[in-house]
Amino acid sequence: MNFVSWSFVALFVLVFLARITVGRRKIEPAYVAVLVVASTVFYAWHIPVYIGILLLSSAVDYWAALWLARIPATSLLQRRAVLALSLGTNLGLLAFFKYANFLIQAARDVLGASAVAALPPEFLLALPMGISFYTFQSMSYTIDVYRGVLTPIRHFLPFFLFISFFPQLVAGPIVRAVEFLPQMPRPRRLRLRVFYEGTWLIISGFFLKMVCADNLAVYVDEHWSRGSNAETTSGFALWLALMFSGQIFADFAGYSNIARGTAYILGYHLPLNFNAPYLAASFKNFWERWHMTLSRWLRDYLYVPLGGNRRGRVRTYINLLLVMVLGGLWHGAAYTYLAWGALHGGALALERLLGLHRTGGWGANAVARVAWFVVVQMVVLTAWVFFRSRTIAEAGHFAGNILAMDDWSLGAMEWIGLLFLLPIVGLHVFVWLRERGLVGEPTPTVKAVLAAGMVYGIATLYAGTADFIYFQF
């Protein structure tokens, strides 16, 4: 189910009614049951039969965690086997649905036409919505139990709610069990302040999605293919890249705000997922601001187990590169995602080599920091070109058009299109000022006025009901 749909409005109204009647303390069994049913309906709304995959992933991790709790810590081999079963199931599902076709195509490319007949045909299966998110969430639970930082949950229903909780089911934030499970037995009444804050997040999320992202998408979808044409000017190519960088931020941050606001009203706190990422002055800082819950997951469950920065400098660079390449492939099976991840991984490694990831050394030099900020934003923008393009060659031509620096003039269409970036720029300026203590949190009155303005914007500037970009991952 898409947040931008009447079905979601109806579902949310029904669950909200349950919240203010049978779920006033949030922990009532009837309310938990309503949340589970609503989450199941939310997921099955896409392709009903795929609820089986969600159940399979959840059931395997639920049993694996219980099993792990029974095995003594000294039986390392046995514990590893159980963990492998859990990870194998989740990664197997991911690999089958996301990478099977990619691997078949890669084999065709490598082996040539003679091998085509011997290879299986491409699968024509639709990707289960949100599989990349809920498998990661589910895996983190088993890994935490394996590590001994979490006690397994006894009953399946609350565990299934943790995996399937509908506000964050299909595109995050990726919530860790240690953040979500302790909230479940804690009573939380719906205060007016919570309702206002949740509503504020929901309205701002819908504004980012329906006004900014969807309008930017109209331009990007219509003109993206022109970005790699030989006759395209640098100005137009750069404009397109900026429009997409704004679109993907507004789309994903909008989704995350709606998810957090909805969850908050329903009694759960979800972590922040975006914090003005285009203010980042270093690559490290970018990943502390962009898709923060995925960055955290990759750090804790991939980078650190690989050795992190504890095994020497070269190994640290390799780990950074490897983690980001895998982060790129997490998005899907395409060379362009791989290139996107490699660009970020390479940049993170180079930044660490130059010592620009910290505030000491080169990082203490103001000029170097400003120069590096420009480099960071340019690389991030270039990486988005790879992310959005269909092929590496297309992305290469696109980036080449920007670097040609021939003609920077823009027409009326381009200038009007840029207007839809203004709210995103405004948001970043506000966060920049707030981080420096120059402004405080908006007062409730200011928020009310802004919310009214955003509601007017949604009612008068919506561009359509395009799917969220991250629904495809």
Binding site: P48, G411, I416, V455, Y462, G464, T465
Partner: protein, 304 residues
């Protein structure tokens, strides 16, 4: 919100009239379902998955099916076609689509529901392409449940838009978007009984269609192959094929007379004078009626 809108309408009264297009949209009768509003063409889903049993039943029982792009859908007027086909004891259905849909999507529907009308009449304008629009590709990847959802969402959104825009406009629809001349407010309903479109409201045309030569431009190899393939598919089903051409200033593909010669099928070519398009592309209502009248008159001769 209302105050802001009212203020703007006082300053620019002409905008007040235009903004009310969506609120003036009226379903011609209960026979019609919503085919298009914000968010895409609903009728792709309805007809590919057969989610409207009445529409599917009429499609299956049609003796004559008309195929083509949105220009056919604007041009084919039910009042004229009803009278013509009823007088001959024939049932017809117009199975055209928006998004410049060409041959593969209607052929997929014909094969899916095993349609075997006595005749198909094809608007040759950009039809023989052996291609699918991106929208159709997306529709075909889905399922009947998704198609049902899409329709319910569209119908609910449509009714909501009719109410909310009595208070506030959609500024993008109202003022247009430079570089996107076709992105205007467009509400279309589709008949279950005969598949025709009805725009509501339908702008009065200003742009003339201009001169047309049925022998121009020459056919490309891809068009030739696609036309032969489509003809073979119709022959395989025992369906007689006739070509026609709905006038437009922005023609697509090769000359219709060349396709008719290539496929050895009749061409219903009509050339009423003074046709106007409502958007520089599609006929306005009175021109569409004039074309439909000329079309059935010529078709009558071909059928004899």
């Amino acid at each position: 919100m209302t105050a802001v809108t009212a203020g703007v309408w006082v300053i620019r009264p002409e905008l007040g009239g235009r903004v009310k297009n969506i609120t003036r949209a009226e379903r011609p009768s209960d026979d019609y379902y919503l085919a298009h509003d914000h968010g895409g063409h609903v009728d792709h889903h309805v007809l590919y998955f057969g989610t409207d049993p009445v529409a599917l039943d009429h499609l299956k029982r049609a003796d004559v099916i008309l195929l083509g792009n949105s220009r056919l859908m604007f041009g084919a007027r039910p009042r004229v076609l009803d009278a013509f086909f009823q007088s001959r004891g024939l049932r017809y259905y117009v199975l055209g689509f928006g998004f410049r849909e060409a041959d593969r999507f209607p052929l997929a529907i014909i094969e899916k529901f095993d349609l075997r009308p006595r005749m198909v009449i094809v608007n040759a304008d950009g039809f023989f392409e052996n291609s699918l629009s991106d929208f159709a590709r997306q529709v075909m990847k889905g399922d009947a449940f998704g198609a049902w959802q899409f329709r319910q969402e569209a119908e609910t959104g449509h009714e909501f838009r009719k109410v909310i825009h009595q208070l506030v406009p959609n500024w993008v629809d109202l003022l247009g978007r430079p570089g996107f001349p076709w992105r205007r407010e467009l509400v279309i309903y589709r008949s279950r009984a005969n598949g025709t479109w009805q725009l509501s409201p339908w702008e009065v045309g200003t742009a003339p269609v201009g001169e047309r030569d049925p022998h121009q431009p020459p056919l490309g190899p891809r068009e030739i192959e696609a036309a032969r393939r489509f003809k073979a598919a119709m022959d395989g089903r025992g369906i007689r094929m006739v070509l026609t051409y709905v006038p437009t200033p922005r023609r697509l593909g090769g000359g219709p007379a060349l396709f008719a010669q290539l496929l050895q099928v009749p061409l219903v070519w009509t050339d009423p004078a003074g046709l106007l398009t409502e958007d520089g592309d599609h006929l306005d209502e009175s021109s569409a009626t004039a074309w439909s009248e000329a079309f059935v008159s010529e078709l009558g001769r071909v059928l004899q």
